[in-house]
């Protein structure tokens, strides 16, 4: 299966990471010698060479635009600038209206290890036919923000819980029970969103994911290597540590 374009969603305000995000969008918060956005673009270019990359930006967009110029003009991503944020589901839907082809959509707050991204890329390249795929990882049920309902690797629904719900919703459950949760990357095959018209500010999960799950076949892809969704101070620190450990693994220098 060939990915025709990659869309990185980086328009969010990073509200839960304030004050860090007062002057920098979340995707640009420093993680060692890199940041989430730069990491995603480099991984995308490594594992999907020659695939056009788009980055959507709204909050502190000028900073994201300047970051993009870090990449040589030859393979520089394009910017989708939204003067007012449209909401991720709307952004993806508009991208599909402009280019009805296979798209890999990645959340701009997900810090992927090289291994996690390469495994996903490899799995996509092995698919014989165009399919829609949601990358998922296992989490302890009480800590999962999103929970996948699936059978034999086909997703029927995703349930999204607010941070407070994850604490109270399953207070009666056994803590060790694991569920599949969305990992922040989805492949959407051509024609999958032809009649999709989300409301503004609708999210990928659950709105867009459930649309595909109900109208098409959405496959679950297991992510077993490390990736971190940076949505609070704790996960930000975890991402910094992950970068440090993989830097040692690949003998990369760490700039402090």
């Amino acid at each position: 299966m060939k990915i025709d374009s990659i869309l990185i969603l980086a328009a969010g305000m990073g509200t839960r990471l304030k004050p860090y995000t007062n002057y920098l969008p979340k995707s640009l918060l420093p993680i060692g010698d890199t940041n989430i956005l730069r990491n995603l673009i480099i991984l995308s270019q490594n594992y999907f060479p020659k695939t056009k990359i788009y980055v959507n930006a709204s909050y502190l967009a000028d900073k994201i635009i300047k970051e993009i110029t870090f990449f040589p003009i030859i393979n520089r991503p394009s910017i989708i600038w939204e003067p007012k944020p449209l909401g991720p589901a709307f952004t993806v839907s508009e991208h599909f209206k402009a280019h009805n082809h296979n798209v890999l959509v990645v959340h701009g707050d997900t810090y992927f290890s090289d291994l996690a991204f390469s495994q996903f890329a490899h799995s996509i390249s092995l698919k014989q036919n165009d399919v829609s795929i949601l990358l998922c990882h296992e989490r302890i049920r009480d800590q999962a923000r999103s929970q996948i309902i699936e059978k034999n690797g086909v997703i029927s629904e995703i349930i999204e819980l607010s941070p407070s719900d994850t604490n109270k919703f399953f207070t009666y459950s056994v803590p060790a029970v694991k569920v599949w949760s969305s990992s922040g990357a989805i492949v959407i095959k051509r024609n999958a969103l032809l009649n999709f018209s989300p409301e503004s500010n609708a999210s990928i999960s659950p709105t867009l994911v459930n649309y595909i799950a109900r109208n098409e076949t959405l496959y679950l892809e297991k992510c077993t290597a490390e990736r971190i969704s940076v949505d609070n101070e704790k996960s930000y620190i975890e991402a910094v540590k992950l970068n440090e450990s993989t830097a040692k693994l690949f003998n990369r220098s760490i700039r402090n």
Partner: protein, 196 residues
């Protein structure tokens, strides 16, 4: 200027791209910068691209100079660049919706972000807009290129690049472009275009 049918073009904004944007009337002191930047462009582009300037020029609309005198200056200036082979054509909008000069007060179809200048040049030279390139320094340049269906839209980085024309009645919800650090990056743009 006999170019093949369905030719491609590189459309350039003037103020802020060919010379530093110093506000209305910058063209009056722009000759050296324009020549330098057009030489840079011409030396790098080997393919038969038409090089066309598209510009909003409001100096006369603001009554800083008479329309006929200003238009004559602009024509002489760009014609001289065509004569020395640095340029193929140019299209200028002199209007402004709030012009002091009543003759030029007009909500026209040619003032960027409207795509009128692009359409007129496309008709005149039989240009395939989809295969053409536009380089501007304001989001209004990008809007105009996008409305005309230009595929390759480049926005030069500066402090005013994301300013929106609040008078525009149908500003799109989003704008797609590739940012450019500086004009020197022209060097590699041709490679991208030839690969496509």
């Amino acid at each position: 200027m006999s170019k093949p049918k369905n030719s491609s073009a590189i459309f350039l904004d003037a103020d802020g791209v060919l010379w530093k944007d110093i506000g209305s009337g910058g063209i009056l002191s722009a000759a050296n910068h324009a020549i330098k930047n057009l030489e840079l462009l011409s030396s790098n582009f080997t393919a038969p691209w038409l090089r066309i300037i598209l510009s909003n020029q409001t100096y006369a609309a603001r009554k800083n100079m008479s329309y006929f005198k200003f238009k004559s200056y602009v024509n002489t200036f760009f014609s001289s660049l065509i004569k020395i082979g640095l340029l193929d054509d140019y299209a200028i909008c002199y209007h402004h919706p709030n012009a002091n000069n009543l003759f030029l007060r007009k909500k026209c179809a040619c003032r960027k972000p409207e795509p009128g200048l692009l359409y007129s040049m496309a008709r005149k030279h039989n240009i395939d807009l989809q295969k053409s390139v536009l380089i501007g320094d304001r989001i209004t340049d990008i809007q105009s290129g996008s409305a005309a269906g230009i595929q390759y839209l480049y926005l030069l980085l500066n402090d005013r690049m994301l300013e929106i024309n609040i008078n525009s009645t149908h500003s799109p919800l989003y704008h797609v472009f590739t940012p450019l650090k500086d004009l020197k990056e022209f060097v590699l743009i041709e490679k991208i275009l030839n690969e496509n």
